[in-house]
């Protein structure tokens, strides 16, 4: 139960890291004048985005390594059990 909520919290954290990438929010209220095109781009913190992606990937990759390790141990146990039964 705790592990599941921790995983969910981690998922929310990852989503939050990506929120700057989502760009402009939805509708503007009626009174505001129509949006003009910005001639220069609003500065985006590229290094922040990059680090967020790299950190997320690092977490995924470490998870894959852990799964692989567990899988190999499982296969070893299975091999031994299959040997025992003759």
């Amino acid at each position: 139960m705790i592990r599941r909520s921790a995983r969910f919290a981690l998922f929310l954290l990852v989503l939050w890291c990506f929120s700057p990438a989502a760009g402009a929010p939805a509708e503007t209220p009626a009174e505001k004048p129509p949006r003009e095109w910005r001639t220069e781009r609003k500065p985006v913190n590229v290094s922040f985005l990059f680090s967020a992606f790299v950190l997320t990937w690092a977490a995924i990759w470490i998870h894959l390594l852990v799964v692989d390790r567990g899988q190999r141990r499982l296969e070893k146990i299975l091999a031994r059990m299959e040997e025992e039964r003759g």
């Binding site: 989502a22 781009r41 985006v44 590229v46 985005l49 990059f50 894959l64 390594l65």
Partner: protein, 231 residues
């Protein structure tokens, strides 16, 4: 016996880690920022490779399904299931990144263009495949039924795409200028193809992990069955 294969699997996992980091670096720093769409355009380097990989995955389901019906070897069924599951994962990624890209660029979440809409139908097709498998407890029957669905589903894909494309010509919507492939700078092209390669590698890694899991499940089941029978 399995030692060499395990080493290859481990090697691939070790390889994909830094490979993806390099990919992210190329995407964020090497590839130039697109003039009209800005930084958001870089989702393209994830969205399109994910789509290609999803399509590759579903082709593997198709091939493995045929191979299973021809040979009845359980390993082909495991390949089909694993490929479908990983394919759905990448397909979900395509469907998630599509709207994230569309909203700031075109102002709407969903554009009903032929490719994205066909991907949505594809997603439902293969979710259905996985759902069907969960409803059949007997292993042999499950393998046969899903193999038939795997074949029918994949053959449907081009027809679905063509029919949706025709459907859109009946209802012309504003043409969105600056599609993903319009005029790729050589650095963009390099980043794109490298991303494609890394995503394919990731696909293989995830596929192998899932297949090994299923194989281990099968072995454990067989051992359990023996124990039960001998008691």
């Amino acid at each position: 016996m399995h030692g060499a294969r395990n080493r290859i699997d481990r090697g691939l996992i070790l390889l994909v880690g830094p490979a993806m980091v390099l990919n992210l670096f190329l995407i964020f720093y090497h590839a130039p920022v697109e003039r009209t769409m800005g930084l958001v355009q870089k989702i393209f380097y994830i969205h399109v490779p994910a789509a290609w990989v999803a399509f590759l995955a579903f082709f593997v389901v198709f091939a493995a399904s045929i191979a299973y019906l021809a040979s009845r070897r359980a390993s082909y069924d495991r390949l089909a299931e694993a490929s479908a599951a990983v394919g759905v994962l990448f397909c979900t990624l395509v469907l998630a990144t599509g709207p994230i890209w569309a909203k700031p660029v075109w102002g709407i979440w969903w554009t009903w263009d032929a490719r994205l809409t066909s991907t949505l139908v594809l997603w439902f097709l293969y979710i259905g495949y996985l759902l069907l498998r969960s409803y059949v407890p007997d292993a042999a029957r499950r393998a046969t039924l899903s193999a038939v669905l795997g074949i029918v589903g994949f053959l449907d894909v081009p027809i679905v795409y063509l029919s949706i494309r025709w459907w859109r010509t009946q209802h012309p919507s504003p043409v969105f200028a600056g599609g993903e492939g319009s005029g790729l700078d050589p650095r963009m092209r390099a980043a794109f193809f490298y991303s494609l390669a890394v995503f394919t590698l990731l696909f293989v890694v995830l596929l192998r992990l899932r297949m090994r899991l299923r194989a281990a499940e099968g072995r454990a089941e067989a051992l359990l069955d023996e124990r039960r029978r001998s008691l």
